[in-house]
Symmetry: C2
Subunit: 196 residues, 2 copies
């Protein structure tokens, strides 16, 4: 076999991941077969599994990239920006996450890998939340961890709506509700006075 340069390897990896994301999106986690991966990527199973040990590795790698991408979006555009990005995300791909929920519960190794998909961005987000709280942008009457959990729950619920094809025409009002829920009550006070 001819030697492959690092760049070629990287390009090949990208080619496989892009194909896998399309196959997962179109056929679901269960339905994503090796035959479909071969067809979509134009590569043999041997070539594919030379880069990724199995289907789980492919999904977890794509999920790691998403965690990075969504985490950066959160850092760059704020939580509301992240929610807007979720509303605009490919519903077919989002569905794959929901299909993984059973596996996440029943396979602890898998769940731990999933939880730790973007540790560096997670640390930055934690620091950002602490900063925001310190300058009075976030309410301080609940633990920061709980605020983060609430935001995660809202993001997941919104992603599910998108994945299941339900329309969200009132996104602006919805995002305002969420935004006010995490701000200190003082903000609501100001807003109430302003609108009164």
């Amino acid at each position: 076999m001819p030697k492959t340069s690092d760049e070629q390897k990287e390009a090949r990896r990208e080619q496989i991941l892009a194909a896998a994301q399309r196959v997962f999106g179109e056929h679901g986690y269960e339905g994503a077969t090796v035959a479909l991966l071969e067809r979509e990527s134009g590569l043999s199973r041997g070539a594919i599994f030379n880069y990724f040990a199995n289907k789980d590795e492919l999904f977890l790698c794509l999920a790691e990239r998403d965690a990075e991408r969504f985490g950066r979006l959160w850092l760059d555009t704020g939580f509301t920006g992240l929610l807007r990005a979720i509303l605009a995300e490919d519903p077919a791909w989002l569905s794959v996450y929901f299909e993984a929920s059973r596996r996440l519960r029943t396979d602890e190794t898998y769940r731990k890998r999933f939880e730790a998909r973007a540790p560096e961005v997670d640390r930055q987000l934690e620091a950002r939340l602490e900063e925001l709280r310190a300058c009075g942008e976030l309410r301080d009457d609940v633990p920061l961890e709980t605020l983060g959990r609430f935001m995660g729950i809202v993001a997941d619920g919104l992603a599910l709506r998108t994945a299941a094809g339900f329309a969200t025409e009132d996104a602006d009002d919805l995002l305002r509700l969420v935004d006010e829920a995490i701000r200190p009550p003082a903000r609501s006070r100001t807003r109430a006075r302003r609108s009164a």
Copy 2:
């Protein structure tokens, strides 16, 4: 064939539904085969499909019952009571809903059936929300429909956490956050003053 009384029919229906819920929960939507349904219910496929045309009908019927049950819980114990019930729900069964997300998006008939699973309870819930708003228990600066949507998103996000096996140890703080998000700002004001 001997004639079956209505009561016997009803008991048989219940037997099939209970078995189907266990099979769905244990093996997932995709994995719930007719053979497993036969084994779990102790009935032949002929007997099962005499009551329910196919697997979809079984799931939609179980989902209708849940919608009734959860809707009543909401009416009887308030939104916070509903969220507590979701946290205590069987994670295996909850996962089935998430597995249905792709189908909900791609099959409009299915989605419409799913959306209209408990119209009577939905009407009562809508009336309840209007009542609560009229007596100042709900904020009135966003459309009622948006408030309802926000609550649905939170309930779904919490159900996903439960289905995926993530711990929610800070449920009390979390539920307080959600509760305050839907109340009029005046409430937060009172609370802020009280805690100040």
